[in-house]
């Protein structure tokens, strides 16, 4: 390496920005989709319906047992097969991320729901609320405060994981860079974004201590 040539970065900026855009978009979709899916799975797992609860557990443990890169691969080949038509790398990746993150988020949500004291469930039930009302009005609002830091942390990990989409020839932020200068720059941007996320997670967890 003869020298650190900053102009390489400047030239590549539009391309890098596109990659960063994909990373952020993937992270956003996977977080929102994953949270929604994770909430449904967690509620089913904690319900008294044994068979659906078992299926939900199978889903979670299945996805948590395989690496994300494999899941991305599978969906790239499987989704077109199941739908009977090509869907494109982007959509297969979106589905893969949402389903994968759903498994992880469901565990965070389940732990959060379980951290609410049994007495709170009993008080809500005793007043005549249904199971879903109890979750929505009493348990989830309390659990969310405890879960927020973990969710942000998971979001940071997710943002980093979006770089894996290179296996299906998509260019997220990291793989939009291909020379030393660009890798250094990419590392810097990842660091900045992820550190911000971590600080936010810490704020949320210490803020909770003050609030209670």
């Amino acid at each position: 390496m003869s020298g650190f040539d900053i102009s390489v970065i400047l030239h590549a900026l539009p391309f890098l920005a596109k990659g960063l855009g994909l990373s952020l978009a993937l992270t956003a979709v996977a977080m929102i989709g994953g949270l929604a899916l994770g909430l449904v799975i967690a509620v089913i797992r904690l319900s008294r319906f044994r068979f659906p609860a078992m299926l939900a557990a199978l889903y979670v443990n299945g996805f948590r047992a395989v690496p994300l890169i494999l899941v991305i691969f599978w969906f790239y080949f499987l989704v077109p097969l199941l739908l009977g038509r090509p869907v494109g790398a982007l959509y297969s990746v979106l589905i893969a991320f949402v389903m994968f993150e759903g498994a992880y988020y469901s565990e965070i949500i389940r732990a959060g729901l379980k951290s609410v004291r049994p007495g709170q469930w009993q008080a809500a039930q005793a007043s005549g609320m249904t199971y879903l009302q109890t979750i929505r009005l009493v348990v989830l609002p309390q659990a969310l405060r405890k879960m927020a830091p973990l969710m942000v942390t998971q979001g940071v990990v997710l943002f980093q994981d979006t770089s894996l989409v290179y296996v299906v020839s998509l260019h997220a932020f990291m793989t939009s860079a291909d020379i030393v200068e660009l890798y250094v720059f990419a590392a810097f941007v990842y660091f900045a974004i992820c550190t911000t996320g971590s600080v936010l997670a810490q704020r949320l967890s210490s803020g909770r201590r003050h609030a209670y």
Binding site: Q120, Q122, A123, Q125, S127, G128, T130, Y131, R145
Partner: protein, 242 residues
């Protein structure tokens, strides 16, 4: 009003309730006492179906409590319950705590629910606390608000599970005073408590439990003067000694 027939429950191999039966009439106040671990808390939690039972039948105001929890919700809303650890919802204000089930279970409008809450808060002397959060209140205040939250549902009966056991001694009186007033107004009450003073003042009958069984049911005066079982005599001598 409330009829319990042959209630049995166990955790795995451990029986906690053995064939318990009890009938409580309208306006009656019944105190359940007994050594700790005798199953009295579980018994009272089974009465509105928040603890599942293996055998037995519970009839509330002529309606049999269904074994399916979802179907039981409507009947459950008609019986108020007060817990040892208050169980106010910590993320909601006092007013929101009192209105939540009124709005979502009874489908009352917000205005009506709040008016109801304010009237009840005045009665227990906590009208100024409606926008406070539970953690900002003392134990005695929290428990009085928990009683208000239950009363706001216009219950046909009230269940109390050791309502003063988690309180500092100087706060027990304020909670018992509210309960005594309720009893005088003719509320049907089933109260699990160690407060024998309250039992003597308010209860018509005493139920004595031990090892998951109802050992003795007696008129209050009779129970304290001349308990018929040896176990109740032993229990009373211990609890009244100090």
């Amino acid at each position: 009003m409330i009829r319990i027939e042959g209630l049995s429950k166990s955790y795995g191999d451990l029986p906690v309730l053995r064939n318990c039966s009890l009938e409580v009439g309208r306006g009656e106040v019944v105190v359940i006492c007994g050594p700790s671990g005798s199953g009295k808390s579980t018994f009272v939690k089974c009465m509105n179906g928040i603890e599942p039972v293996q055998a037995g039948r519970i009839t509330i105001d002529g309606e049999v409590l269904p074994s399916k929890p979802a179907a039981a919700a409507r009947i459950r809303s008609r019986v108020g319950m007060v817990f040892q650890h208050f169980e106010l919802y910590p993320h909601l204000t006092v007013m929101e705590n009192i209105c939540l089930a009124q709005i979502h279970v009874l489908k009352r409008g917000r205005g009506e629910a709040e008016a109801k809450a304010r009237a009840l808060l005045r009665r227990v002397g906590l009208a100024d606390k409606e926008s406070a959060y539970p953690t900002q209140l003392s134990g005695g205040q929290q428990q009085r608000i928990a009683i208000v939250r239950a009363l706001a549902m216009d219950p046909i009966a009230m269940l109390f599970d050791e309502p003063t056991s988690a309180l500092d001694p100087e706060m027990i009186g304020e909670v018992l005073a509210v309960m005594l007033e309720l009893a005088r107004e003719g509320m049907t009450m089933i109260v699990v408590t160690h407060e024998m003073g309250f039992a003597k003042a308010a209860a018509g009958r005493i139920v004595f439990m031990d090892h998951g069984e109802i050992v003795e049911v007696a008129e209050t005066q009779h129970f304290f003067a001349q308990p018929s079982s040896e176990r109740a005599r032993l229990f009373l001598s211990r609890i009244l000694a100090h």
